[in-house]
Amino acid sequence: MSKRADEGPRFLGRVVTDERLGGMVRLTVEIPGWPGSGPGQFALLQSEPSRCFLSRALSVSDERGERVVFLIAPVGDGTRELCGLQMGDPIRVLGPLGNAFDVDALVKSPGRAVIVAGGAGVAPFPLLLSRMAARYREVFPAPAGEQPGSPEAAGPEVLVLLGFRDSLQFEASAPLRQTAASMGRAGLRCRLEIAVEDGSHGPAEKVTDLLQRHLQPGDRVAVCGPSAMSTAVWRVCSAVSDVQTWFSLETNMACGVGSCHGCVIMLADGTQGRVCREGPVFRGETVFASERVLAGEEVAGD
C-alpha cells in the first residue's frame, strides 16, 4: 500500500547552525525525510510557531543528505522571523518545490557556463556548482591514470560573476566563493569575478559591467538576483549571439505548488507563468520580450 497523503509532505526540521553573514543569515537545517532537491528548487519555510500566516519561499542553497542550507535576507516580516532562528529551533519545511536549473545544458554544451548572481541571489549557486561538477565527472570521466583532482584533469572553466551593493552584502557570498574555489578538485575550474557597487572591492561597478566584458558568443548563462539586475543581464545577453539564459525569479507566493495562481508573472508571449510551478527557473526568452526590456519595465516582482 502506498504512503497515504495524511502523512503529509510538510517536514519538521531543526536548525543545526545559524551563521550571520553580511546582513543575511545562513541556516543549516536538519530535515528528517528530506528527499533531496535539484539546483534552483526552493522550499516554503516557516518558524514554528510563527507570527506570519504564510510560509516564505527560499532557494535551497546547498545540501548534504538531510542537512539543507538556506541563505535568507531579512526583507519582510517572514524573512526577519526566519533570520531570528537559532541552533536547535524547529522550522516547518514544505518542499522541494518548483523546477531546477538544467545542469546538462550547462555541462554538456560546447559553450562556456556562466553564473551571474546579485546580492541574496547567490543563494542557489553553491548547489548548482557542486551538481555541475558531479555531472561533469559522470559525463566526462577522468582518463585512466589521471587523478580526478589533478590540474590536468580539471574540466572546463566556469565563469562566476557576483555583484553586491556594498562590502557587508559581499560577505554573504563567502560560502559560494569557498564552493567555487573547491570545485577544481571536483573537476570544474571556477573563475570568480566580483563587482561591489560601493568600490570597497576594486572599482565601483555592477555585475552587468563584468558581464559586458566577459560574455562570449555561445555562453550558457544562469542568473539569480534582484529583478532590475535580471532585466539588465538579459539586455546584455540578448545583444550577443547564441547566448542561452536561465533566470531564477522571485515573487510573493502562497501555496508554492501551483494551486493558487497567486505568484504569476507576465511572460513574453502575453500569457502568465506561475513562478512556483513553471519556474522559478525560466528561459530568458520566455520571460523577457525585447520591447518590454527596451521600455525598462520590470517583469519580476521584488
Partner: protein, 317 residues
C-alpha cells in the same frame, strides 16, 4: 473510530472536511509530492478551481499579499474554459476515489446554464445514470475579483434566485450556491437560493478588501481590490453561518479561516454540516485530513456524533 461520514445532498462524504475552490489543486500536489494525493485525497470531496465558459487569463500581477492573520488575493478566475475542462480535467476527476464538486463561475445567467448543461452532457456520456452520487455543482456567484457577473449576481436576491432556478432546471445533481459576504444581509440571498431549488449553501467567499503598497502608497494588487481570507475573517464567517442556519433549512458548507479541528467544531456548532479548508491549507496541504482526524478525537472525547454537533450553538441549554 468515530463515524464522521456526512451527506451533502446525494453525495456521501467520508468526513466533513473539504477544500475551498481555488485553494487546492490535487493534481499539482500529486506532481509535487507523489500520487498519494490523488490515490488518497486529504479531502472528503474535492472542489477544483472555478471553471468559466471561456478561457480566462485572470488578473494582472501582483495578485496576493499576506495580511494580519490572513491573505488578500485578486486572482481573477484564470483557467482554460469549459471545453478544455470537460476534455482534459473531467476524466481524471472522475477517476478520483472521492466525490467532486465542480465550481463554475459565469458573467450572466445564460453562462451559468451553459456551464451546467455542458457538464451534465459530458457526465451523461461518461457515467450514464450514476454520476449524481459522484459529482456536484457549486455556483460561484461570489468571486469579488471579476468585474461583472459572478458576485454582482450573488449580491442580489432576485438575480440569485434567477440563476439558481435556471441551473436547477438543467442540473439534476447536488447544487450548492456559494454566497458572498459582501452584502447587507446574507440571509436574504440564502433564502432566495433555497427558494430557487439549491440543495446547499456555501458560506463564505472572501471579504472584499484593499492593501496599499507601502513604498508607492498606491493600491498593491493589480486588480486594486481583492478578497480577504484566513483566520482574520473567521468570526465574520461564523456569524454568517450562524445566521444562515437560522434562516434556511439547507445544509451549509462553512468556511473562512479554518485551521484546526477546534475551528471545524465551531463552524459545525454554528450550523455547518461540511467545513472547507481554504488558505490555511497553503501551509500544509494535508490540513483537511489532519483536522478530520483531530475532529474524530474531539467528538469522541465529548461523546458526540457529527449530527449532534451541527447547530449545537443554536440549542437551548
Amino acid at each position: 473510530m468515530t463515524d464522521l461520514s456526512v451527506r451533502l445532498g446525494p453525495l456521501r462524504l467520508e468526513h466533513p472536511l473539504i477544500n475551498c475552490s481555488g485553494t487546492m489543486e490535487l493534481f499539482e500536489l500529486a506532481k509535487a509530492f507523489g500520487p498519494r494525493f490523488v490515490e488518497h485525497p486529504p479531502v472528503a470531496a474535492y472542489v477544483p478551481k472555478t471553471v468559466t465558459l471561456q478561457p480566462r487569463l485572470g488578473n494582472p500581477p501582483p495578485r496576493i499579499l499576506e495580511t494580519a492573520a490572513g491573505l488578500i488575493n485578486a486572482i481573477g478566475l484564470p483557467g482554460p474554459g469549459l471545453e478544455v475542462f470537460v476534455g482534459e480535467e473531467l476524466p481524471r476527476l472522475l477517476a478520483l476515489p472521492c466525490p467532486v464538486i465542480v465550481s463554475v463561475g459565469g458573467f450572466s445567467r445564460e453562462e451559468y446554464v451553459a456551464l451546467a448543461g455542458g457538464l451534465k452532457d459530458a457526465l451523461d456520456v461518461a457515467l450514464p445514470a450514476e454520476w449524481t452520487c459522484r459529482m456536484g455543482l457549486e455556483l460561484n456567484i461570489s468571486c469579488p475579483n471579476v468585474r461583472s457577473g459572478c458576485a454582482s449576481i450573488g449580491a442580489d436576491a432576485r438575480e440569485t434566485e434567477g440563476v439558481v432556478a435556471a441551473v436547477r432546471a438543467t442540473w439534476p445533481g447536488l447544487l450548492v450556491a456559494k454566497l458572498t459576504p459582501n452584502v447587507t444581509d446574507m440571509t436574504e440571498i440564502g433564502r432566495a437560493a433555497e427558494a430557487a431549488g439549491a440543495d446547499a449553501l456555501a458560506a463564505v467567499n472572501t471579504y472584499k478588501g484593499l492593501v496599499i503598497d507601502r513604498r508607492t502608497l498606491r493600491p498593491y494588487l493589480g486588480n486594486v481590490t481583492g478578497g480577504l481570507s484566513g483566520p482574520a475573517i473567521k468570526p465574520l464567517a461564523l456569524r454568517a453561518v450562524y445566521e444562515l442556519y437560522e434562516a434556511v433549512a439547507l445544509p451549509i458548507v462553512g468556511m473562512g479561516g479554518v485551521e484546526t479541528a477546534d475551528d471545524v467544531l465551531e463552524f459545525m456548532a454554528c450550523g455547518a454540516t461540511v467545513v472547507a479548508v481554504g488558505s490555511c491549507g497553503f501551509k500544509d496541504p494535508c490540513l483537511a485530513w489532519h483536522s478530520s482526524r483531530e475532529l474524530a478525537i474531539a467528538l469522541s472525547d465529548r461523546d458526540l456524533t457529527v449530527s449532534d454537533v451541527v447547530g449545537w450553538a443554536h440549542r437551548e441549554v
